[in-house]
C-alpha cells in the first residue's frame, strides 16, 4: 500500500514539473520554427586560399557540415542515437538543465591531397574523416 502511495506521489510530482509550452505536441510553433538537423554545403577552395603554390591537387573539396535542430520527435532522417532520443525527452522535461542533442556527422570519409614538400619531392597524403557523408543527432 505504501509503495503504491509513493508511486502515485512521484507520478504527481513528475507530471507537475513538465513544461507543456516546450512540448512539440502541445506547442506546434516548436516544430515549424526549427530547421531540422541535416547536411549543409561547405566547399573549401584551396585555389582561392592561394595555396595552389604547393597543393597540386585537388583545387578544393566538398567538406560539408551538419546544422539544424534536434527536436522531438526525432525522425529516421536524423540518424539519432538511442541516447539522443533519451536526451531529447529529458530536455523536454528539464529544458534549463539538459540541452538538446547535437547535430553532428555520423559518417565521414577521407580525401587525398597531393602537394610539394620542396621543389623535388612530392607527397600524396590521405586525410581521414575530412568529408561529412551524413549527419545525425548525438
Amino acid at each position: 500500500v505504501r509503495r503504491k502511495r509513493d508511486a502515485r506521489r512521484r507520478k504527481k510530482s513528475d507530471t507537475s514539473s513538465v513544461d507543456y509550452r516546450s512540448n512539440p505536441y502541445t506547442d506546434p510553433s516548436i516544430q515549424s520554427n526549427a530547421r531540422t538537423c541535416k547536411i549543409q554545403t561547405l566547399y573549401v577552395n584551396f585555389r582561392d586560399l592561394k595555396w595552389q603554390d604547393w597543393i597540386i591537387a585537388p583545387d578544393g573539396y566538398d567538406a560539408y557540415y551538419c546544422s539544424g535542430e534536434c527536436n522531438f520527435p526525432l525522425n529516421a532522417h536524423m540518424n539519432a542515437t538511442n541516447h539522443a532520443i533519451v536526451q531529447t525527452l529529458v530536455h523536454l522535461v528539464t529544458p534549463g538543465k539538459v540541452p538538446k542533442p547535437c547535430c553532428a556527422p555520423t559518417k565521414l570519409s577521407a580525401i587525398s591531397v597531393l602537394y610539394f614538400l620542396d621543389d623535388n619531392n612530392v607527397i600524396l597524403k590521405k586525410y581521414k574523416n575530412m568529408v561529412v557523408k551524413s549527419c545525425g543527432c548525438h
Binding site: R35, K38, Q40, T41, L42, Y43, V44, N45, F46, R47, D48, L49, K50, W51, Q52, D53, W54, I55, I56, A57, P58, G60, Y65, S67, G68, S109, A110, I111, S112, V113, L114, Y115, F116, L117, D118, D119, N120, N121, V122, I123, L124, K125, K126, Y127, K128, V131
Partner: protein
C-alpha cells in the same frame, strides 16, 4: 574584397546576425587548417612560383591521384581503377595498386647528384635520395626505384638481354666501399617503359640511420656474362640528365601509426 576560399550555403537562421571575422582571424583559421594538413609553412625552394609537375616523380603521383583516387575515396581500388592501357604515363602493377590501397602517405623522391666522399664511380650509376622529410611515426609498406628504359640506342651493337641490379652503398669500418645486393631484374634492348626495383630495405635503413645514406649503386650486366659491367645508358636506361619526365626516382608507401601529434 578577398575570397575566403570557404563557401557555405548559409544554412543557419537568416534572422541571426553573424559577426564578420577580421583579416587576422581569417589568417589564423587558414593557418589552423594548414596545420591540420601538416602544411604550416610554404615549402622551401619553391620561391613563390607555382610548382611544375613536369618531372617524373611528381608526375607519377599525379598519375596515381588522377587514375585511382579522387572521388569516392572509401571505395575499393580494384573496382575503381581504369582498364589497362588507360592508366596514364605509368603502368601500375597489381602490387602497386595494393600498396596504394593500403597507404595513408605516398612520397616520391627525385634522384640527386649528391657527393659522398670515398665512393668511386665505375661504369654503373650512383643514385642518392633525400629521405629526411619522411614523416616520423609512419611505417614503411614498401618502396620502389623506377627507371625509364628507352628503346633508342646509340650503340646498335649492344643489343641483347641484360640484368639491372641495385646495390646499397655501405661504408665498412676500414673506410672501404662495400655494396650490398638489394634487387635485380631482367630486361632487353628495345624494350620501352618503367623498370621497377624493390628498394624497401635500403629506405628502412636510411630512415633509421640518415648518416648511413650513401645511396644506391646501379649496375648493368649482360644476362650471359655477368662479369662485364656496362653503363645503364648503353641499354637505354635514362639517367638524371635525361628527359625530365623520364628521370629515375624512388616512390615509398607508408601507413600511418594513427597517433596524432599534439598541436
Amino acid at each position: 574584397g578577398r575570397l575566403s576560399g570557404l563557401y557555405v550555403d548559409n544554412g543557419l537562421d537568416q534572422t541571426v546576425i553573424h559577426r564578420v571575422v577580421t583579416q587576422r582571424e581569417r589568417q589564423e583559421v587558414e593557418h589552423e587548417i594548414l596545420n591540420l594538413l601538416g602544411l604550416p609553412d610554404r615549402p622551401r625552394g619553391l620561391g613563390g612560383h607555382p610548382p611544375q609537375v613536369k618531372r617524373s616523380a611528381p608526375k607519377f603521383l599525379l598519375d596515381i591521384y588522377r587514375n585511382t583516387l579522387g572521388e569516392g575515396e572509401d571505395q575499393d581500388l580494384s573496382s575503381t581503377v581504369k582498364p589497362e592501357g588507360d592508366r596514364g604515363h605509368f603502368d601500375l602493377s597489381g602490387q602497386d595498386l595494393r600498396a596504394i590501397d593500403q597507404s595513408d602517405v605516398i612520397m616520391s623522391f627525385a634522384a640527386h647528384n649528391h657527393h659522398v666522399a670515398g665512393v668511386r664511380h665505375e661504369r654503373g650509376k650512383r643514385l642518392w635520395f633525400d629521405v629526411s622529410e619522411v614523416p616520423p611515426g609512419e611505417s614503411i609498406i614498401g618502396a620502389e626505384l623506377r627507371l625509364y628504359q628507352s628503346p633508342d640506342l646509340k650503340n646498335k651493337k649492344k643489343q641483347g638481354s641484360y640484368v639491372v641490379t641495385a646495390y646499397r652503398v655501405l661504408r665498412t669500418e676500414d673506410g672501404e666501399r662495400e655494396l650490398q645486393y638489394v634487387d635485380a631484374m631482367n630486361t632487353s634492348t628495345g624494350r620501352e617503359g618503367w623498370l621497377t626495383l624493390n628498394v624497401s630495405e635500403p629506405l628502412q635503413h636510411w630512415v633509421n640511420d640518415p648518416e648511413a645514406n650513401r645511396g644506391l649503386y646501379l649496375s648493368v650486366h649482360p644476362a650471359d656474362r655477368s662479369v662485364h659491367e656496362m653503363r645503364p645508358e648503353d641499354v637505354g636506361i635514362v639517367g638524371s640528365r635525361g628527359d625530365v619526365d623520364k628521370q629515375p626516382f624512388m616512390v615509398a608507401f607508408f601507413k600511418s601509426s594513427g597517433i596524432r601529434e599534439a598541436r
